[in-house]
Symmetry: C3
Subunit: 359 residues, 3 copies
């Protein structure tokens, strides 16, 4: 499927040059994405099969598919040794145009644990080459070298979709601008499932910089697959969730509220089953004094959690700076270390389903 990259442009985030992108689409031979894996698998049409699939947007994943990933992640945790050869002979390129220790490590170890071979491409200097042309040529080159999967992080919106359209090997989006980060959202939902038992009926708050977060949209899209979900977006107006997210939630009839006034935060916190924290960054505020005025209200500490349910789970994609107090680490509210540890089994599950040898 060929989708034009979204045209929404976020401040400070370079869009891919759409004209040249379109020129490439026209120039590209149309390819069938047919995958022969192991000695018998082909890409089948049955809805939960992720074999050969690109993981570009959380929007593309159905509840069935998500539950398949979780089932495999459970199995990875229970029987990890059974997975040591699932990627044997497979080559995974990690093309990180924007650095990320955490996400890079997680994918690297996931692929190695499955017996796959990793081509580590940490290419921050390619940022100056975010032109579609160069990215296109780099991707075609990786394809020419026979890589079986490309995991890509890129500072531009639309970069992952572009890559998925350019190469026939499956592309896994490891973060595309502030647009999406679907595998982070998969591990986040898996964490909710493991810690809370179910996702249905959840009251989920997201707090901090929701406008520039790549995780928040992906998480909102994923949980919209579940029943009776209620979302609370807690952020100052300037950093509220983007319109594209609201449109999607409206479309799928997901209930959500936007909490923009400091004085409404305690009441919002009191309603939540899970609080997802992201950081306010000073540089996002046009007026620095505005940041100074607001930051205290968006710092999560024991004082703020006075209003919370005893069972409230606090999540954070880590590493934090100061938006989440270390005091909370010792309380049962702290879900974030478990959350971090679920990155490995979920990414192993994704690799196994998308590029793994049929077992």
């Amino acid at each position: 499927m060929v989708c034009a990259p979204s045209k929404t442009v976020i401040r400070g985030e370079p869009p891919l040059p759409t004209d040249s992108v379109n020129a490439f689409y026209k120039a590209m031979p149309i390819r069938r994405r047919v995958f022969v894996l192991g000695d018998r698998e082909t890409r089948s049409a049955f809805k939960s099969d992720l074999r050969g699939r690109d993981i570009v947007s959380a929007k593309d994943l159905s509840r069935d598919e998500l539950e398949l990933v979780f089932e495999v992640a459970d199995d990875v945790l229970a029987n990890s040794s059974a997975y040591s050869a699932v990627l044997r002979g497979r080559r995974v390129a990690l093309l990180f145009v924007e650095p990320s220790t955490r996400t890079f490590s997680s994918f690297y170890i996931a692929a190695r644990r499955l017996g796959g071979d990793v081509l580590p491409l940490n290419e921050p200097e390619m940022t100056s080459l975010t032109k579609g042309e160069t990215l296109y040529d780099t991707l075609k080159m990786l394809e020419g070298y026979g890589v079986d999967c490309i995991v890509m992080r890129h500072p531009s919106r639309g970069a992952a979709r572009f890559a998925a359209d350019v190469v026939s090997a499956p592309v896994i989006n490891a973060g595309s601008g502030s647009q999406e980060h679907p595998t982070q959202a998969i591990l986040d939902v898996y964490t909710i499932l493991k810690k809370r038992g179910e996702v249905d009926g959840i009251s989920l708050g997201m707090l901090g910089d929701l406008r520039f977060s790549r995780t928040v949209p992906s998480l909102a899209y994923l949980v919209s697959n579940f029943d009776d979900v209620e979302l609370h977006f807690i952020a100052p107006s300037a950093l509220q969730v983007r319109q594209e997210v609201e449109l999607y939630l409206n479309d799928r009839n997901v209930k959500y509220t936007k909490v923009t006034r400091q004085q409404d935060i305690p009441d919002a916190i009191s309603r939540l089953d899970v609080l997802y924290v992201t950081r306010l960054q000073k540089e996002r505020f046009p007026d620095p004094s505005e940041y100074e005025r607001l930051k205290g209200s968006y710092r999560v500490d024991m004082d703020m959690l006075r209003y919370a349910k005893t069972s409230l789970g606090v999540m954070h994609p880590l590493p934090r700076v100061d938006e989440l107090d270390a005091e909370i680490d010792r309380t049962p509210h702290a879900w974030y270390f478990d959350q971090a540890s679920y990155g490995l089994p979920t990414r192993m599950a994704i690799f196994a389903l998308v590029v793994g040898e049929a077992r």
Copy 2:
């Protein structure tokens, strides 16, 4: 063989400090380069044997040796599974003092596909340490660690030759300043062979910035091994091919022409079997308005190819920026994606011949 590094200095390119280089030569113990590979191979004298050889300059390769590489590359493409253990137990260091996604990836995957172990050293920060002394110590250290082959890219002329003289393990030049890039030229000639059937009798044009290109000299040197070759260097005077290349071609009686006037380009294009495109870079022109005036004439698009033979092949080392129009991608003129894909089998062949286990 110990050769003094060439003294030709290109603007913006740091030469190795020759005095200290000479001091090292004097200081170095003379070593026999003896290789025991597998359990029976030693470095033999027969002319096509590349075992243990440094690949520093395209000038060092004879036609026989080149054809041996191509023969093995053909075999790699036909029987790739037979090569999966050719570098087993071998350690290849990739010392990239200047970053290059494409060349780095190609060597990395080539070594891994042969079962070798890769030490990835992306060391752009070493650029500030281009002093001969530091490079010497780094190379001796790699030798001390028992690496079996060093693939090196370095921003200085002479760096690869220097390395080859310093360590006893074979050194493969992955680009040394604007001097040479022999493995790129090997894959380029292989592409010509595969697409055209033979190299003899070719009329080969090279267009763009020929003065600062590292690929153009290596390609010119390699094709001079073949019969009835005619080269056309198409570039403005300021960016014409360097004198050292002309001297070499004269020496070997290779026919070549220099096309420096814009109005002569169409006629030159019409004579070519293959057109090799490199990019004009604005920063190479002392006068920016000169660049603006010329750039249109050196941009390869369908309009320029009106004058070309139907069978003309267009080559480019990729990634391109805007010097090669995406329109051409869909035409049979576009050899450059195949060209990119030949990087892997040719580099696998080079590794197999130079450091591989005897089969």
Copy 3:
């Protein structure tokens, strides 16, 4: 054991923020460090067993432990093939927040030669995140991914100790600020042993910038395990050995002298069995003219060695710039290339003892 990081702060070297470090200590669950290796080993109490041990400071190593490392290093050199599976199934993270080609390569190859898997994390950009909080989260994440050992280089004092306290997997300090570099010191002492036959009774000089060196303190601590050692610290007052080193040596009754006047250098040199050279760096001098005045006296060349014993060994952690003349390379005084080559067997021995499969 939980030790507060030392509070000594060296100019230009960011200390870890102690308050937040303490907050983390309070927040951290206390963990038992229990290691089950292979199918029978547990961490035993007998004094020379290094299994599961952090290698943070040279101070923590006894003579028995050091001799165990040397014994295994000897065995590695004699029977390297017997070690090819000692780290099979083990994952070693190389977290280099500060780049180092040499140390990185040495650990990388050591782990690979033992059959271990390496997660290469070259993260100079993390330097801007030297806050304890971020490092804590990164370390917990690596632990969550199941790495079996973390080798860390970090520009801050105390960083390695902090890491060792945060994660239950063993931490190997590959350089922490200017504080320590214990594995370098281990290979240095091994070199002395191999070249001189014994360490007892040595007269060891250290020359150059002793104040900001991370190697000099570790080496001084290690040799203090041996009998009848005499140390000579040869440096201008501003760059003399740090007080913490003197306190330690006094405590252990190790004889040492400080040579601060240029005119006393020849006499000091004449007494030495081994001279350990480090570089004077111009930027360390508050007054640049002071540097110009002194540098000649601290440059080691054949002229300086006129005063030396015939058997004097010169050591240097390489790469050098100009503090050690290439003339010496050809003389028997030059121990530094052998020294560099001992990095591999000693680091293999350390890995084997600390995280290896029981044999």
